[in-house]
Symmetry: C2
Subunit: 401 residues, 2 copies
């Protein structure tokens, strides 16, 4: 047996473990008694707009085409639609030929690392970060180098400059951020790009900027989203419709390669080769065609995004107010659907274990490569937040003794 | 960039290349002028039974559950249903806890190789074989050892005995076979098992039997399908609903681990670890739930299988008769939807290039690790077969000069 994968399989991620624990607890105590802030499973249902598109496809499309193999990178019309949507929305200059449809962002990330990394190449990320980055990078035989963020959980730029070396192949960014809810504005993207450009010249090879943006539309400040391909040539975007359309189980997303990228066509080939070698034949076809129809109706889509944003923003405000009201210290989140909260003791894993006694399921920051925090996902029912306040109060009191 | 994946991406599989060439040709000449026997894309549409299940789920299920994350190995009810269906149908003794839902059989295979192989471990397969085996095994840092079949394209058992060594970790079988249409009956499964059992004792470690069976239901002889877990303890099954339900684009299948397997629980953990490291979060949820409902209605399902079998059998008989009538030499196929035909010259790649001049798209056997044949997929419209006869005649005549 493969020892590395056996070990990985024996120790599921802390988040997945909480997810399973939670399902068990809910069966024991009943749905309403467990306050599950663990996994990022969107609780706002996908809209009728999306369901109607899916049922229409099923009823009206030729099933041989609808459920048949597409080209490995995806149906060409779908890929062209993704490119033109992004070009219209972000004033980007993408090309359908360099869009690769994937089984969600996780697949996209795993594919990109396998496409771009040679053995022992380094990938830089700021902590806290999505834990699977490390799993995927290491499976691709690369090395994840985690840098500390500054006190506001934004990139420490000087540290980036110092940390890039001959082996650095990639910087991953994830804005709005899971787990912190942080957002990188245009100034930040420009600052990061400038450092990478300088270092590319210094080391005479491309250093890719990989933007993982499943939460792109879940932004609660009135700022435009700085689309990385507009600022930095050697850039790629991994996207998923999991969060924005509330379809996390369906596994649909894409990789967008910047046409300005050094050897863009080879990057695409390498992505295709990596996808093939990992067993990804193509992204699910019904959901590929859904993507085209969804992006075709920008008005309905924007209505859906607004509805979703309002819902999560209400939850964020409620949870933020409730917890700061009790006395907890939080990082103010600008997007995504997570709040990063200071643990009430040094050992955040122990803190999250104690929280379980109050049926509060929260993820310790160790999972995200940082210390002293817990992550709360607020993509939950409003009642979950309201009903959890007493439990959070009790947990707080326990630490005041 | 990763050199191996770049090379792999630059050279798409011959089948995929023909697929793209064909789409191009169809645009140029019109649908009816191209005789596409290349890719194994089922041409019989999925039945109303399946479409109704999908639309019902979309209309009646809670979308948060329907499209939400399932557990990584799949929804427990779905997994239990798969196990009980297989137990009832094949008198097997499977357990839902050892079923792992996957994004099709390709994902299942890639996951199994990554789960079971350490670097340089050997995987044995009989040629001709599905070309992606080699890609997946090598991506998992293993080595694919291809053995010649006997003249009937059935396993040469003596050769297997000689070829197993200390490094052998796995034997893959694929019955009914892509590309030959061969079927392994119960006697063959017992014979293979006996050799593996003997060798396990000799080498003191498990040698897994991995049965890749996407064509299980497409069998045109009146024999029962010998389900491997009934014959050999250290066995796993990779299955896909792509061919049996005509849903190849949707990527839904499973891995079934034999509970009698040595360290079955560890095999499962390793499968889970491999799936995670390759970026497979879970199989598409809508299609997982569809699987449950499909398997729940065995009567309708069997009706669908019968309909599909009759359709492909008619095509097989028509194509077989037409080609032998012209003078071609064929291997008689018992299942799947492929005919393996002797090329009319030594160089089967050149032969398939010449065939293109007659707008006949057929896959050279080099792709399947064997020499001197071409593969014809007969999952095509009846008219494609009828209209292609003239072209096959011309091709045949060309070689008689």
């Amino acid at each position: 047996m493969n020892k590395k994968n056996l070990e990985l399989g024996k120790k599921p991620s802390a988040i997945r473990e909480l997810f399973e624990f939670c399902n068990q607890k809910k069966k024991e105590l009943g749905e309403g008694k467990v306050f599950d802030f663990s996994i990022g499973n969107p609780n706002i249902p996908t809209s009728k707009f999306v369901t109607d598109i899916l049922t229409n496809l099923l009823i009206n499309e030729d099933p041989v085409k609808l459920h048949g193999y597409t080209s490995a990178p995806g149906d060409m019309d779908v890929r062209n639609k993704v490119a033109s949507y992004l070009n219209e929305t972000y004033n980007a200059k993408l090309d359908g030929n360099l869009i690769f449809m994937t089984c969600g962002a996780a697949a996209g990330l795993a594919i990109c690392f396998n496409a771009l990394l040679e053995k022992d190449d380094e990938v830089i990320v700021y902590a806290p970060y999505f834990p699977e980055y490390k799993v995927f990078v290491e499976a691709a035989h690369g090395k994840l180098v985690a840098l500390d963020s500054d006190n506001d959980l934004l990139p420490d730029l000087k540290l980036l400059e110092k940390s890039i070396n001959e082996k650095t192949r990639l910087l991953i960014i994830n804005s709005p951020n899971n787990p912190s809810g942080m957002f990188y504005d245009e100034k930040m993207i420009i600052a990061l790009s400038n450092i990478l450009k300088k270092k590319e010249i210094e080391y005479c090879h491309p250093i890719y900027l990989l933007s993982d943006e499943p939460y792109r539309e879940l932004l609660y400040v009135n700022e435009k989203y700085p689309f990385v391909t507009n600022y930095y040539d050697d850039s790629l975007v991994c996207y998923s419709f999991s969060k924005s359309l509330s379809l996390p189980g369906e596994r649909i997303g894409y990789i967008a390669i910047n046409p300005q990228c050094d050897d863009a066509q080879d990057v695409f080939y390498s992505v295709a080769g990596a996808a093939r070698s990992l067993g990804y034949i193509s992204a699910p076809s019904l959901f590929q065609y859904m993507v085209k129809d969804v992006l075709d109706d920008k008005k309905e889509l924007e209505k859906h995004y607004q509805f979703v944003r309002e819902g999560y923003k209400t939850n964020r405000d409620l949870l933020y107010k409730s917890l700061t009201g009790i006395g907890y210290e939080l990082i103010y989140p600008y997007g995504a659907f997570y709040i990063y909260m200071k643990a009430l003791e040094k050992d955040e894993e122990h803190f999250s274990e104690i929280a379980k006694e109050y049926n509060l399921l929260i993820v310790p920051s160790t999972s995200f490569g940082s210390k002293g925090y817990v992550r709360l996902c607020y993509a939950v029912k409003k009642e979950t937040i309201l009903n959890s306040v007493e439990a959070f109060k009790k947990l707080y009191k326990r630490y005041q003794k």
